[in-house]
């Protein structure tokens, strides 16, 4: 019995060794320059608590790639097809770095995209910069990502602080329009990089607009109960409650606010969890009249938007979210750059990104114009405010602000019903 | 009733018992005497199935029991009162007794046995609801014996019932054991207190360093010069 188990273990170990070596050899042979295929890499959290977000990003890319390939691939490169290699970061920076190294040196990808979390983007973009391989950052919004003087990093997403700036603008304009003076704001945020970044921006923009922050409440991202936070908000009673949350805590907060009947002038979310397709499933009717900021909405008044979202919904069974749209539109920006570069040569590709000025095609669903500044940051990344409203008895995210991109015929509910009672 | 043939046993890599053969007949009372660490407890634990033998056979009537798990052996009516009493410290006296009666065979007779035990050991009846560990050493020993009796033993094995008890209590314990023997329960008693044990039994074995060094009638053993010198200090 003992002997047998020993053998099994040694067999197992041998197998692992052999296969690892095999992986090495296979890798060396596999880096052939097939003109018919352009290999790209994507780093996403495909396991761990952020896996759902990684999944939708993967699906959006897959859909775009299928379309591009079906439409003849990259014409300037003889109809070369895009092949995407997905790597799992587990949401862990060190793994992200390791995967970036692998994608670049082992898979020999022409370009990397990804990677949802800013925490993973920060170190993994550094790897790409070191190897001088273009890194197309579609979702992460941490300000610093494009503020480090890197040459090969291009970001499609807005900067975090831009969102908080837009939220402040929204509050001021509403206060004026509906003549509801706003004096105080409460901030509730999950205590990760994202929340802390948002708070820094709020602390800059809100006082500038004459608003006083009366509550600043961080909570652990994996909280089992947020009732204490809600009760505290009830006690301090700010005019506006602004939140940064992932989906689980967003839902938990929403429901708990409803339970304890907390009624400020407005609840404003900061995308992320509030924009997650499952948020409404979890929070139910309690989410009604909550505001959220976003870069894209299914009903947003932009070209191609509705059609693509419909295709996505048919394919995967649920609607896109802003992250999916960025991932999807990003693929078309990349396609555009590849067409112009006519090569996977990193420097040519980089030049193509620098020269990008895309004003047509499916990328329109995200922005009417895609153009990067000298830091690689997308200029004028679009931002909209939407509100959860019941339309024909069904809860929907209705884009309400700015007016030119708002859903046709929509109406803002301001202030929150019952506020001030 | 119990036959052991050429048994080797121990734990881990150590063989404590070497080539043990002995037998206990129905209704008999047999002592195994020996010093601390001579392997007495190992022997009882091997019979009870807590240790599995390295060699040899153990038979109860015509069933071979080495390699049966402990609870199967208890089911056959081979019940041990372990060394150091080992009652369940956080349970009441009553609960301790009822654990003894948890076997299907014993459960049916639990009520009857409980009466018998309380009759035999009235102290336990008085203290039914006391928590085990708050009782004195002597009471705990009584409880351990009572608990074993609840399991309907055919062969009762006692491991050092005198351990840690004052001389007076030792006598009381042995009186109780004598009463149990009257109930036609076969008893195998393992003791350091050679005098007391051999005084009660008819027959005995001497265990020394893992071997059975002597066997015979109790009187023979008590008068053996070697025993006198080594165990009785004479």
């Amino acid at each position: 019995m003992k002997k047998k188990s020993g053998k099994i273990v040694s067999l197992l170990l041998t197998a692992v060794m052999v296969l690892t070596l095999g992986a090495g050899c296979g890798g060396q042979g596999g880096g052939s320059e097939d003109a018919k295929e352009i290999k790209m890499g994507t780093i996403l959290p495909l396991s761990g608590s952020q896996a759902p977000l990684g999944k939708i990003g993967q699906q959006a890319r897959d859909m775009a790639i299928e379309e591009i390939n079906a439409a003849g691939g990259i014409e300037s490169m003889g109809g070369a097809k895009i092949k995407m290699v997905y790597a799992d970061s587990k949401g862990d920076p060190a793994t992200g770095v390791s995967e970036a190294e692998r994608l670049i040196t082992q898979e020999e990808v022409a370009l990397i995209t990804g990677c949802y979390q800013s925490g993973v983007a920060m170190p993994s973009t550094e790897v790409a910069e070191r190897y001088q391989i273009p890194y197309f950052v579609d979702v992460p919004s941490e300000d610093q990502i494009t503020e480090r003087g890197f040459k090969y990093i291009f970001r499609l997403a807005e900067k975090t602080s831009w969102r908080n700036r837009a939220q402040t603008e929204f509050i001021t304009s509403m206060a004026q329009k509906y003549n509801t003076p706003v004096k105080t704001v409460g901030l509730i945020y999950e205590n990760t990089a994202w929340g802390q970044g948002a708070v820094r921006a709020w602390e800059k923009y809100l006082p500038e607009a004459g608003l006083e922050i009366v509550m600043k409440e961080p909570y652990p991202a994996n909280s089992s109960d947020l009732t204490p936070v809600v009760l505290k908000a009830k006690k301090l009673n700010p005019d506006i409650i602004m939140m940064v949350s992932y989906v689980s805590d967003a839902a938990l907060l929403t429901k708990t606010f409803a339970e304890h009947q907390v009624k400020p002038l407005a609840f404003i979310g900061t995308s992320g969890g509030f924009a997650d397709p499952t948020y409404y499933d979890l929070a139910g009717d309690a989410s009604e009249n909550f505001f959220d900021i976003s870069t894209w909405e299914p009903d947003v008044n932009r070209p191609n938007s509705q059609e693509i979202n419909k295709r996505f919904q048919e394919k995967y069974g649920y609607a896109m979210n802003a992250e999916a749209v960025k991932a999807y539109a990003g693929m078309y920006v990349i396609k555009d750059a590849l067409e112009k570069a006519g090569s996977t040569e990193p420097d040519k590709l980089r030049e193509a990104f620098v020269a990008t000025d895309l004003q047509s095609g499916p990328a329109q669903m995200y922005a009417s114009q895609t153009k990067f500044d000298e830091t690689g940051q997308m200029i004028n990344a679009p931002l909209v405010i939407c509100q959860y409203q019941k339309v024909n008895g069904k809860m929907e995210r209705v884009t309400v602000w700015p007016e030119k991109e708002a859903r046709v015929g929509s109406q803002i509910v301001w202030p929150y019903p019952g506020a001030g009672n | 009733m119990l036959r052991i043939k050429e048994l080797d046993s121990g734990y881990g890599d150590i063989t404590v018992l070497k080539n043990i053969s002995l037998n206990v007949d129905e209704g008999e009372i047999v002592s195994i005497v020996g010093a601390n660490g001579s392997g007495k407890t190992t022997l009882l634990n091997t019979i009870s199935g807590i240790l599995s033998p390295k060699k040899g056979e153990i038979w109860v009537e015509d069933q071979r029991i080495d390699n049966l798990p402990p609870h199967k052996i208890t089911e056959l009516g081979i019940v041990q009162v372990p060394e150091g009493r080992r009652i369940f410290p956080l349970m009441t006296v009553y609960e301790n007794l009822m654990i003894g009666a948890s076997l299907p065979r014993a459960k049916a007779k639990a009520k009857q046995n409980l009466e018998y035990v309380f009759d035999l050991l009235p102290r336990l009846a008085e203290r039914q609801n006391q928590i085990g560990r708050t009782m004195s050493g002597g009471e705990q020993q009584m409880l351990a014996i009572g608990r074993a009796l609840m399991a309907e033993p055919r062969l009762l094995m006692l491991d050092e019932p005198s351990m840690g008890l004052s001389p007076l209590l030792v006598s009381t314990v042995f009186e109780v054991i004598a009463k149990i023997v009257e109930q036609k329960i076969t008893v195998l008693i393992v003791e350091q207190n050679v005098k007391k044990a051999l005084g009660l039994s008819k027959r005995g074995y001497v265990l020394e360093n893992g071997f059975i060094s002597m066997e015979g009638s109790s009187d023979q053993l008590l008068n053996n010069p070697h025993i006198k010198k080594a165990y009785l200090g004479m």
Partner: protein
Amino acid sequence: MIEKNNKKTIILWAGLAVILLLIPMFVTKPYFLHVIIMCLLWAYLATSWNIIGGFAGQLSLGHGIYTAVGAYVTVMLFNTLGLSPWLGMFIAGAVAVLISLVIGFPTFGLRGAYYALATVAISEGVIVLINSIGDVGKFHVGGAEGLILKTVGNSWAAFQFSSKVPYYYIILILLVLGIIAAKKIKDSRLGYYLVALREDEDAAAAIGINVRNNKLIAGAISAFMTALGGVFYAMLIRYLEPNAVAGAVSMSTQMVFMTIVGGAGTVFGPVIGGILLSLVSEFIRFYLGGQLMGLHLFVYGLIVLIIIIKQPSGIIALFDKLKERLSREQH
């Protein structure tokens, strides 16, 4: 006979040394070198944990604290004061020692499970703390946003290289030093004391061993070594994310897994465990990573599960058995 064996061992070791030194010549792909570097780093971290966890038998499940201390202190000193990491790492090590004593005093009286769970709680607390601190005086900590190492390009003084090769040799040296330290400790009075108190605290005290002090010393050495591992991690990854540097899943439990799978309390067990498990994990992520969500971690867990069930005292026990069989055959 003995001499012949000695010769054989020397040749074996020399051969191994040559192979290790030459690895960067053959492994030219940075990704593979990176994987090898991570393997050695894990082997080193497991070796460090083993001092307290294996030798002294104190199941610390919070050693991520020390990697974090090493990494953070060094990076903070470098970023703010420009202090070379080569000096900073000793300050970081000293801080880790201090913290290990602060944690050690209240916890080393705890036995078994209580100690293990206490270390879990402490490390969770420390993670929350790091996540919440933005700045300490003029030092930037970065809170949950993490701390970026200022990059200065290729510089020995700054412990930053554009090639992977220097990292390889540095971690190799660190690992060899770690193994030597472990071996020295094992053969010294401290080593004997630790194993003795692991086996039986009362008996250890009876032969004059100060149980608490020896545990504290072992804890301090382990913390110091672990902190150096943290420094290396910081220099290699160049970005510190609290949950990654200090976290239970990514740091603390990994060290324990590797040590136990390799063989706790031995000198080479943790090395074997560290290299093997990081290879296994890298390899299955390589093959299974982009596919079905969770598949590769599922397989990883399964492999660890099987090894523990089949070989609870560690893989190194297999080598011992092999050696025994060989020597038996020779006689």
